[in-house]
Every structure is written in structure tokens, then in C-alpha cells.
Symmetry: C2
Subunit: 331 residues, 2 copies
């Protein structure tokens, strides 16, 4: 019996805006030199100038399509797996499609799939499920995030941590291929709901009634609570994930974690010490790019040759909500 579904990553793409070295932020916010790298683990990140999320997403997607050798009419669906958005309405994937070269001439459907920082994994699972070689043969996933606008200058935990950027991935159903989608699992621990949140700007604190206030309209994070929750839940999550799976933890070639924070990645290495050197990172050079962190890292690892065909890649992370999620594929 074949285990897993024959889903193949046909191409990936990436777009990052202007680089912002930590010195720039440290001087802007009156922080000592080296503060960002020491506390956030971030030496530089990218911040948008005039780019929208949709523009960045469209560029990343066009790069992925070039690598995959497909054009827009070849796609059966474009999924945006992102947490931030350009407009409250319409859905972000339709904004991305509109920015593409042939976006106005092609009626490929669009759908958003979201689970905060784990949106890329959710979108991947949805795409892998829909792909059947018939009505769905190729699906694009785009994660494009602007985190820099939602930073509260008074919140030291987030000041130097976040970056902007986009990445995309074309998935195909290839019955004859060796690539596999094995499984994706998430669990939502609602006790952490308020530990990672943007409170203002939705129905709960509507613009009209709550004028702009950095404390309300920026990302608020209680890092210690989140770490405590991750420490409590991750070991059991990992154990359950691999129970009954034909691929053991020891067979994993590469671990791609969400780049939540320096301590978050450190915690993961602590929990699976035997795999510590397989845990990949780009926090130092990109910061936390919300849902785009995982696919940006994936793209760079594929293009540098660190991920090769046949590799078992395990994705893992936590997200606002709070969710813990994992996904296993064979590249």
C-alpha cells in the first residue's frame, strides 16, 4: 500500500522588499547596538516601502510558476495562506491574482486559507487534499505578509523581531512521482487566545469607535505565556504526530519550523535534541515573517540545495489562536 498522497512541489518563489539592518531600528528606537540580535535573534529583516502584500505575493508566485514551468491558465486554484491583508474585503488571494501579469485575462479561482502564522501549512493541507489529478491538477499557494506596519514602538518584544516578505509554492498531483504529502495536524489551545493578538480593527474594536492607538492596533504578544504553552504541548504533539506514521523522527532529513522567536526555535531544539542540527533557521536574516516565514525558508533551502528530492521534510510551528501544527512531506 502506498502511504501518503503523490503531491509534488513543482516550484517555489520568493520576494522580499528593502533590507533593514538592525542598526537602523536600534538607532531609531534608542536601543543599544546589538540589542536586536541578542534579544530577538535578528540581524536584519526586510520592510516594505510602497509594496502591497498582493504585489509581493504576485511576484513570488510568478517566480514559482517560472520554476515549475506553468502559466496562469495551468493553475486550478490560487490559495493565499497569509495572516495579514491589503483590504478587509475582498479576500487576499483575489488581490494577489489581480496583480499578476495575466490576472485580468484569466479566471482561475481564488481562496484564502488561514490559521494565523500556520496559514501556509493549512493552505498546503487544503491544496494537497483538493488535488486529484482531475478537477485539481495544479494549485498555487502564496503567503505574503507585511508585519512592519503593525509594530508598537512601546512593545520591546516585537520591535525588532518582525519582517515582511512573500513566498509561493506550486503543488501538483503526480501519480507516478516519488514525492509525497503524508499528513498535517493542528491543535488549537484556546487558553492562549489573548497571548498573541491584534485587538483593534475588526468587529470587536471597530475603527469608527476606536481611533488608532498603537497598543490596540499593533501586534501584542506575551512571549513567556506562549513559550510555556509550547513547552507544555509540543512534546505530546510530536509523539502523537509520529505514532503510527511509517516515517520515524530519525528518518527526517530537514525540520522547517515557523520562525516565531529565538526562544521558540531554541525550545524546539531542546525538545528534539537528537535532531537539533536538522532544525533550519532564517530568523537571523529575515525575522519573523508571520505565515511567510516557513515558505520563504523552504524556498531558500530548495534553491541552495539543502533540500533535495526524496528528503523527508517536517514542518512545525505555533500560531496565534493558539495553535500548534505539524506537517510531513517527501520533497
Amino acid at each position: 500500500m502506498m502511504y501518503g498522497k503523490p503531491i509534488r512541489i513543482l516550484g517555489t518563489g520568493k520576494y522580499v522588499p528593502q533590507i533593514v539592518p538592525s542598526e537602523v531600528l536600534e538607532s531609531k528606537y534608542g536601543l543599544p547596538e546589538g540589542w536586536s540580535e541578542t534579544h530577538s535573534g535578528v540581524r536584519s529583516r526586510y520592510h516594505v516601502g510602497k509594496e502591497s502584500s498582493a504585489e509581493m505575493g504576485a511576484k513570488a508566485l510568478e517566480m514559482a510558476m517560472e520554476m515549475a514551468g506553468v502559466s496562469l491558465p495551468d493553475l486550478d486554484l490560487i490559495i493565499s495562506g497569509s495572516a495579514s491583508f491589503d483590504y478587509p474585503l475582498p479576500h487576499q488571494s483575489s488581490a494577489i491574482k489581480r496583480e499578476m501579469k495575466d490576472g485580468l485575462n484569466c479566471q482561475v479561482p481564488t481562496m484564502d486559507v488561514g490559521s494565523s502564522c500556520l496559514s501556509f501549512l493549512s493552505a498546503f493541507e487544503v491544496a494537497a487534499s483538493l488535488l486529484n489529478g482531475q478537477s485539481y491538477r495544479k494549485i498555487a499557494i502564496v503567503s505574503s505578509e507585511i508585519a512592519s506596519k503593525g509594530i508598537n514602538p512601546d512593545n520591546w518584544e516585537t520591535l525588532t523581531l518582525f519582517g515582511d516578505g512573500a513566498a509561493a509554492c506550486i503543488l501538483g498531483f503526480e501519480a507516478e512521482g516519488d514525492s509525497r504529502f503524508y499528513m498535517a495536524v493542528q491543535r488549537t489551545y484556546s487558553e492562549g487566545f489573548f497571548d498573541s493578538i491584534i485587538k483593534g480593527g475588526g468587529n470587536k474594536h471597530f475603527f469608527k469607535d476606536y481611533p488608532y492607538d498603537p497598543a490596540l492596533h499593533s501586534f501584542g504578544m506575551h512571549g513567556k505565556n506562549l513559550l510555556r504553552l509550547a513547552l507544555k504541548t509540543l512534546p505530546e504533539f510530536l509523539q502523537d504526530f509520529f505514532a503510527g506514521m511509517p516515517i520515524s523522527v530519525a528518518q527526517i532529513d530537514c525540520i522547517i519550523p515557523h520562525q516565531a522567536s529565538k526562544s521558540g526555535i531554541g525550545l524546539l531544539q531542546q525538545i528534539v535534541p537528537e535532531l537539533s542540527d536538522k532544525v533550519k533557521q532564517n530568523l537571523l536574516t529575515h525575522g519573523n515573517c508571520i505565515a511567510a516565514s516557513i515558505p520563504i525558508l523552504l524556498h531558500d533551502l530548495i534553491h541552495s540545495g539543502e533540500i533535495k528530492r526524496g528528503y523527508h521534510c517536517f514542518f512545525i510551528g505555533t500560531a496565534a489562536g493558539v495553535s500548534v501544527g505539524g506537517m510531513l512531506i517527501k520533497y
Copy 2:
């Protein structure tokens, strides 16, 4: 060969807040008596007081779970298929889960699926695809919308059209059952992107740089452009949808359209005159409830006995983006 997938609606639920008769809005905005019903086709709708989207969604979901005879740990996933949200972050489905009676004691995963007004159909398709009788046996879909906060008093097209409310639906995989999910299709026509939009409040017009302005932060709609696009695209869409389908248009028992507007529903009846009396409506009593319109109507039709087991139900609508979408099931 069995056509379609054995997916069954196990239960539905609904929650609406306070009723607002049209006279109230007509007097508030200085409109002549009867204006709302004549122009918007809406006699009354429901508007929230202090309720959040998540609270309404949780109540609708709890009703659906009661009808389906399931409890929270029986669910393998909660999907929010909504266009509006309580918080920009975390994802809305995690907010809904948190409001549920056992939400804090149960780690059922949460995921948002969005395609603006067609979010319920996208969520239904995703759920039907994931359900496999093993890792996914029961999935809940919740559409909960607050439209009343985003109304621009200067925009006569939207002033009396929109309502708030929530509905939920539990889907199960029942290999032995007679219920079916046949197909869902969407197409996105990007030329209509700016004809149905909330411009302010995302990355493009960030709160910090754009203080509240009803023209920017309310729903803007160019009804005539949308109708023109629907008229141009719907006939071909319907023809393509039913081509190769073993169920013909004549075999449809019930058509559940998105309650976009009086003219939008009228247009549909014009395009399929032979099915005109099968086109169901609740615009008169609920207004346009964004993505919650379709599942609220579905719930009411099931509970009134107008939809019976074995009925072929066809869902159809347009959404901001602009997308046209359809879905066919056997209840």
C-alpha cells in the same frame, strides 16, 4: 460507479441578533417610508448590539451540534467561512472556538477559509475534500457576519441592504449514506475587483496613516458594474457547471443563491426562467448577510421542511473579488 462523495449535512444551526424593521432605518436616515423594501428588497434585518461575530458563530454552531448529536471532541476541525472578523489576528475560527462552552477544554483544530461572500461554499468544498472517514470524520463550518458596522450613511446602495447573523453546519463522511457532495466551482474575474470592496483597514490603507472615514472604512459597492459582470458570466458558468454532470438542471429541487441584492436574485431568475420558482430567498427578512446568507437560508429551509433528504440542492452566487461560484449536493 458512484458519482459524488458521500458527505452528509448532519445538522445546522442559526443565530440572529436584534431585529431592525426598515422603518427604523428609514426614519434614521430620512428616507421615505417603504424605501428599503422597494429599493433593497429588505423589510427587516438583524443588527448586533454587543454581540461579537465569534459569540454569534459559537451559538449557531452549538445549535448545529445539538441537531447532529455531536459534542466538541467529536469534531475533527472547525472552519470559519466568513468575510468579516472580530480581530485582525488570530484567525476567526479560533475566536469562535474560544466562545464555545467547552472551547477551553478541547483542542479541536481551527482554520479559516475565505472567498468573501462565497466563503461558506469554499469552506464546504474544503470540508468535503478533507472528510475521509478516518482522520476527518466530522467537520463544522461556521459563517458569522457583522455587516452593520461597515455601512456608509452616504452610500444609498448599502444603507438598508445588509444584515448581521450566523449559521453553522456539521458535515460528516457517511460511506453508507445516500447524501452526496457532487462539485463546487468558482471563477475569479479580476476586472471587478474594485466594484465591491472595503478599502481601509488593511495594509494598503493602514489605520495609522488613514483615520476613520466612512468612505474608506465602509463597504463600497458598484451594483451596476457587478450586475453587468454577472449577466456576462453567469450563463456560461452555469452551462459549464452542468456539462458532464449526471444531474441535469431540470433535476434540481432547490436553488439557494447568495442574497446579494434584489436585482442579483432577479437576474438569476431571468437566466434560468424554468427554475425560477425553485430559487429560494430570505433577503426580505434578513437582508444580505455576507457569507452567512447562504447557510442561514439553508438552515431555515431544512427546518421548515422545504429541503428534504434526497433533494438536489444547487448553491450559486457572486462574491467580492469578483468571483462567481456554484455547488451541487444531495441533502
